[in-house]
């Protein structure tokens, strides 16, 4: 007996219920883009290798290209279209806009969804692959640029906007707003200072024979 190969499903997306028939082969990504006109979620590789299709599923970041739509029934889906509150951008969106955390914009919705989750995961105390000591006694690691880079590594950006994306995530994580930062050293200025400081450190260490 051949089982049915399509189903009528109801998806909970950005607080709305959407009912639609799906071919079981349809991924959540394709359902969003082709059936629900939610094209903010991007298809970069369709194989879980780039992160452009990242959405939140029950609050957790997920690559929607490897998530079958039929298997997403009953779960809360948040896409880039659900991030802002009306005209008010999510702080991560605002930071990307202000700090130019993108170029072509195609990986951007995935980067933003991922960054929103990264900030939550970090707040929940999750360690990462670059956390020195993962034991719970060691406490949560500070969200350094290195930690942000590792946690964001599932989102490729071919334009090479990583430097400003990391700045944007750091700014959003620190809860800083553009207005506040106007009178303070910006994240990018801090980075510049760091490069120059490293240069001085290089100079200072240059004479030390260590090999």
């Amino acid at each position: 007996m051949t089982p049915p190969t399509s189903s009528a499903i109801t998806l909970h997306i950005n607080g709305e219920k959407r009912t639609l028939p799906v071919d079981h082969r349809t991924t959540l990504l394709d359902a969003l883009r082709e059936k629900l006109d939610l094209t903010g979620t991007k298809k970069g590789c369709d194989q879980g290798q780039c992160g452009a299709c990242t959405v939140l599923l029950d609050g957790r970041r997920t690559v929607s290209c490897l998530q079958l739509a039929v298997a997403a029934e009953g779960r809360e889906i948040t896409t880039i279209e659900g991030m802002a509150e009306g005209d008010r951008l999510h702080p991560v969106q605002q930071a990307f806009l202000d700090l130019d955390g993108y170029q072509c914009g195609y990986c951007t919705p995935g980067q933003i969804c991922s960054a929103v989750a990264v900030i939550e995961e970090h707040a929940a105390g999750w360690p990462s692959a670059v956390t020195d000591d993962v034991r719970p006694e060691a406490g949560p690691p500070p969200l350094t640029p290195e930690e942000i880079r590792e946690r964001m590594s599932g989102n490729l950006c071919r334009c090479g906007a990583y430097v400003s994306i990391v700045e944007a995530v750091a700014r959003a994580a620190a809860g800083r707003t553009t207005a506040e930062s106007a009178g303070h050293p910006t994240v990018e200025a801090a980075g510049r200072t760091a490069v120059e400081a490293a240069g001085r450190a290089t100079a200072a260490k240059a004479g030390e024979a260590a090999a």
Binding site: A52, C104, C157, R158, C159, Y162, A198, G199, A206, A210
Partner: protein
């Protein structure tokens, strides 16, 4: 940053992207995202044979599959004309003349298009389509010993030479003679190539992802022998291009299918298909020979480069061209050669020629500095040419030394111990390296239309393309200054071939070319408005065309320049290489929008990291096709690979450009891989002459006297 010469305020001031809100909210729609009623989906079928003929395409069973509408192949497809010269003055790669005959010139050649009601149905049917081939032996062997290599001009002469090379090399106190290789590299823009074609009121309307909407419209018009007025190509948001997004199989297939079915058809390339259909950068094998006096002054310079192309089209990666602008010597020879193999045709990829060429030449300079025991920056300063080494023409401006001076100061170069292997941080050996960068500055003819609206605002219409460069925003600032108004009162509309001919987003020439046309039109519009006849409801529109002005430019050596610095950490026990910091100082014309310009330059440098350490497409000799043709098999740098990178610039306006622009899209990658390789040498004592510098190569080389 040196203060830019003030114009009228907007240009030179940081400005968030005008389409930024759409991009961060997901509202910006890319080519595959515009809904159409009755849309059908096409899926390309690519050859599994590497050379031969198609014996048969078994379309019958596939036509019976659910939802399948048609199967296009060489037996059923409409004829196209590929005997023409396109907008950029070159004939098309016959690879875009889809399904015209039974020849298969490489693995991954498009042999059919399956069209179905849904993308799932099209995909399954395309995968089920059986194609029989009569296979012939193929040859994909790319090596330095190819006797069938031959010189190819491309957009520059294949060979330049002066002086007696053998004699000058023989008398040189110090000689460097080394071979460098770079692998096959792929653009991999995040947005796959996608096009939707439909006939709308007798006009062909193509929504596409490309680097020039009039360019693609012109090619489609010629391929399908259509009246130019009956073709419209739109491309409002483009998810990256890097040279790969011209006319390609997907647009042609979509046009064929929509013509046949008389309904909208969308064709999107899969990531895997892009490896065969989107073009790529040829691998290179380069030999550099330098002869110098003991003080490093060059007496002889030879740079030879071998790249590959397909059997159907001649494309050259002109890596040997970079020395023609960079360094002079009494004897000076540069030569670009190609070999034709059973592979897809390569194409332009970010800094074609300069990217791989600078890796070889700037590594060789580093080797020479070491042999002469002089500082690598001092060596470059000592060899600064007064005029074009090959052309003898004056430079429009050349601020390379200023870039090195500023960069050295900020990077902390002065106190560097030149001896390799002297610094360590735990398991990591540390090293620093530098390299020079250059990229031609040019402009292409463009037209623009500027409208003064009755409400006091302005509309700019130009077939520009913003592939992530920030062009839309830069042009808004340029127009605002040229019109002496605020950027908020200017609306720039781009990405529509109906706006008239314009330069493509390529060759670092887009923004400069479009800005020129807008500046000219703005001047005329202001004159018209000053005449004081008021603005009618439909507004006042002025058009410009820069063809004559650009044609009248005096012959000069026109280039952007830069100095790259990198610090790396190498674990000699595991072969891991990490870039710890990078600094690039550029002399690249007037910077229109510092916010987005920084992104362009840092993005290019990030490509340099990716090129130095990660990127490499692997081709299987037996099958002739790729292995691991996806983003897990072909690594591009990820977040964790990219440290804080600083890019800055010195004041260097182009004296012959109305705005002073040179172009910044490509210079950031030039020299970056060499700076990293030179830093790896400094860290470990090992010279890596083949990219990418993978862990296995670092491990095989060890540390010390050996070279890799």
């Amino acid at each position: 940053m040196t203060a830019p010469t003030a114009l009228r305020g907007a240009v030179g001031t940081a400005h968030a992207r005008v389409e930024g809100r759409d991009k961060v909210t997901g509202a910006a729609r890319y080519a595959a995202e515009i809904p159409f009623a009755e849309l059908a989906h096409g899926w390309l079928v690519l050859s599994t044979a590497a050379r031969g003929r198609i014996r048969s395409v078994e379309a019958g069973p596939v036509l019976d599959m659910p939802g399948v509408l048609t199967v296009l192949h060489h037996g059923t497809a409409p004829r196209v004309d590929s005997e023409y010269i396109g907008m950029l003055g070159v004939p098309p790669d016959p690879s875009v003349a889809l399904f015209q005959n039974d020849r298969v010139p490489h693995a991954g050649w498009p042999v059919a298009l399956v069209v179905a009601e849904t993308s799932e149905q099209a995909r399954e049917a395309a995968e089920a389509l059986v194609v029989h081939y009569e296979e012939e032996p193929h040859d994909i062997g790319f090596d330095a010993g190819r006797t069938d290599a031959y010189p190819v001009d491309g957009h520059m002469p294949a060979v330049t030479e002066k002086g007696d090379l053998a004699a000058r090399l023989a008398e040189s106190a110090v000689v460097v003679d080394a071979e460098y290789t770079t692998p096959e590299e792929h653009h991999n823009p995040m947005e796959p190539h996608a096009a939707t074609a439909r006939w709308d009121g007798g006009r062909l309307d193509v929504v596409d992802s490309n680097q020039g909407s009039t360019w693609v419209a012109d090619e489609l018009c010629k391929l399908f022998s259509l009246d130019p007025a009956s073709v419209r190509v739109r491309s409002e948001h483009v998810g990256g291009g890097f040279g790969s997004k011209g006319v390609r199989a997907h647009q042609v297939a979509a046009v064929m299918a929509s013509t046949l079915l008389q309904r909208p058809v969308r064709v999107v390339l899969t990531r895997r298909q892009m490896f065969s259909l989107a073009g790529y950068r040829s691998p290179t094998i380069q030999r550099v020979r330098l002869g110098a006096d003991p003080d490093g002054r060059l007496r002889a310079l030879e740079h030879e480069s071998l790249s590959l192309t397909s059997t159907v089209y001649e494309f050259v990666e002109p890596s040997a061209g970079v020395a023609r602008a960079m360094y002079d010597a009494d004897a000076h020879r540069t030569a670009n050669q190609v070999v034709r193999l059973d592979v897809p045709t390569p194409t332009w990829m970010r800094a074609p020629g300069e990217a791989p060429g600078s890796f070889a030449l700037e590594s060789a300079l580093d080797e020479l500095a070491e042999k002469c025991r002089i500082d690598p920056i001092a060596l470059r300063v000592r060899n600064e040419p007064g005029t074009g080494p090959v052309s003898g023409l004056p430079f429009s401006s050349r601020n390379l030394v200023a870039c090195f001076e500023e960069g050295a100061r900020r990077f902390g170069w002065a106190d560097r111990d030149p001896r390799p292997g002297m610094r360590r941080d735990g398991r990591w050996l540390l090293g620093t390296g530098t390299a020079a960068a250059s990229f031609p500055a040019g402009a292409g003819p463009s037209t623009a239309a500027l409208t003064a609206e009755a409400d006091g605002s302005f509309t700019v219409r130009i077939a520009a393309s913003d592939i992530g460069t920030g062009a839309r925003t830069a042009l808004t600032l340029i127009a605002a200054d040229a019109l002496e108004t605020a950027p908020e009162r200017v609306r720039v509309r781009i990405g529509d071939s109906d706006f008239g001919p314009a330069m493509i987003a390529g060759g670092s020439m887009g923004t400069r070319s479009w800005a020129w046309a807008i500046t000219v039109a703005a001047g005329e519009l202001r004159e018209r408005l000053a005449a004081g006849n008021g603005i009618p409801p439909e507004g006042v529109t002025v058009r410009s065309d820069t063809t004559a002005a650009i044609g009248a430019l005096a012959q000069k050596e026109r280039h952007s320049f830069g100095a790259q610095f990198a610090e790396v950490a190498v674990d000699a026990g595991t072969g891991e290489v990490r870039v710890r910091r990078m600094l690039g100082i550029f002399a690249a014309g007037r910077i229109v929008n510092p916010l987005t310009a920084r992104g362009q330059l840092v993005g290019g440098m990030t490509w340099g990291i990716s090129m130095a350490l990660h990127e490499e497409a692997v081709r299987d000799r037996v099958s002739g096709g790729h292995v691991g043709a996806d983003l897990a098999g072909y690594h591009v740098a990820s977040h964790a690979d990219v440290p804080h990178i600083e890019a800055d610039w010195i004041d260097d306006p182009d004296p012959d450009d109305p705005v002073g622009i040179k172009g910044i899209g490509e210079i950031g990658i030039v020299g970056a891989a060499a700076a990293i390789a030179n830093a790896v040498r400094h860290a470990t004592g090992v010279r890596h002459r083949s990219l990418p510098i993978r862990p296995d190569r670092v491990l095989a080389a060890g540390t010390g006297a050996q070279d890799a």
